[in-house]
């Protein structure tokens, strides 16, 4: 293990890959429950169907979280994609389209960190990642699921997805990453070191 002041090795270490994948797999499991919950609660949103998108952010969480924990270019994309792949293999009702969603959402989160030049791993970067992941997800979903709905629905849906991405995906991932660091399990990562009080 390198010390915090040592220069970061160029490529991904094995531990970066496995921890990123394991976090994503855990979320793949959580997605199954969330997918079912999303379907069961659909009638509750009968009056304003677009508002159901407030639940969307959980699907955007793994990309942002893996980015925050692993802190490497490509981590958010990898996390979002693996979580989607796991969910697809376990039999998500959306089939292969989940992979596409996962790629788009992961890419959105990745872009958020890239815009901070992979130097900012703080709350604003996480929220930006969540917002951009939400924006990508909204575009994908409108094309695939709601092409015929009116513009009011499309705008409201996109707004709810982005908002949920910012709150659940961005702030949620940041809180989880901080909580993980506090439990001391991220000792092998830079993300586990800045939190330590001296």
């Amino acid at each position: 293990m390198t010390t915090a002041s040592a220069p970061r090795p160029a490529g991904w270490r094995m531990i970066d890959i496995v921890v990123a994948a394991v976090l994503a797999v855990a979320f793949g499991v959580a997605f199954l429950a969330w997918n079912a919950l999303y379907n069961w609660t659909t009638p509750l949103f009968a009056a304003v169907p677009a508002a159901q998108a407030v639940m969307y952010g959980v699907w955007l969480l793994p990309g942002v979280l893996v980015g925050l924990v692993v802190r490497r270019p490509g981590a958010a994309l990898f996390g979002g994609f693996v979580a989607a792949a796991v969910s697809a293999f376990l039999g998500s009702q959306w089939g292969l389209d989940v992979l596409l969603s996962g790629l788009i959402q992961g890419a959105g989160a990745e872009l958020g960190f890239a815009l901070f030049l992979y130097r900012g791993w703080h709350l604003p970067a996480a929220v930006l990642g969540g917002v951009l992941a939400g924006a990508g997800a909204a575009i994908h979903d409108i094309v695939v699921y709601y092409p015929d709905a009116g513009p009011e629905f499309k705008i409201a849906f996109a707004a709810f997805v982005v908002l949920s991405g910012a709150v659940l995906g961005g702030v949620g991932a940041w809180l989880l990453a901080r909580a993980l660091a506090r439990r001391g399990v991220l000792a092998a990562f830079e993300s586990g070191r800045d939190q330590r009080r001296i």
């Binding site: 094995m14 499991v29 039999g91 009116g150």
Partner: protein
Amino acid sequence: MKLLTPVVPDRSAPLGAANPLAKLVAALLLMVALFASLDGVTAGMILVVLLGLLPVSGVSPGALLGRSWLVLFAAVSVAVINTLLAPAQLGPTLLEAGPIRIGADTALNGLALGVRLLAIALAGLLALATTDPVDLADALMQHWRVSPRFALGALAALRLLPSFAVEWQTIGLARRARGINAGRSPVAWLRLMGGRLLSLLVGGVRRATRMAVAMEARGLGSRPCRSAARPQPMRAADWAWIAGALLLAVGAVAVSMLIGTWRPLVGG
């Protein structure tokens, strides 16, 4: 948790024996055609052919339905939302209740979108349910030059799935035993779920750290070349699946265009 036991693909079935990447590409070709067309004729034709493939998939329809019946809900809700919230109700009045009027053409379009979603989902389900993740990782490394460290790292993480499912239940039971209960408040429920998820993640990261050390100690990825233990060749039959999917995608769109029902995603 029945959902967490992956459907075991039957390797002797034609679709189960096909190269995972061939199936993936074939499903993607169909999905592109389905994304681009909004009409029920294109989607319906593809859906019928996919349903016809069920017997050769090696997956029992019951098992497939058991995992994916929720998509029927999604298809219905997509059909309803696209019908009710359309900017204009077209065609003769089908139903009139107070301020709400539903036009027959709009309802038909909504229904078509539901069918389209079913076809999109089934294309992917057939490709994935008949594929073993191990085969997919092997094929990705052999044909698409995916880095073995990433492919095998993801595969190692995937292996933890069953224990994650058990752990999730254990954490829930432990919390219940300590009397932690959300009552009826959804906010408290969400907080509790967050805590439960965190416990799962903490355990997962600990295990991942140990696994990574073990994999590295065994020399994974330390040499540039590695041989394949389980070759995943592209056979003639695999190319035939891709060609067949391309033919179906183009054919369905062409037929729909010829009879004048095709409705493109953009510029319709």
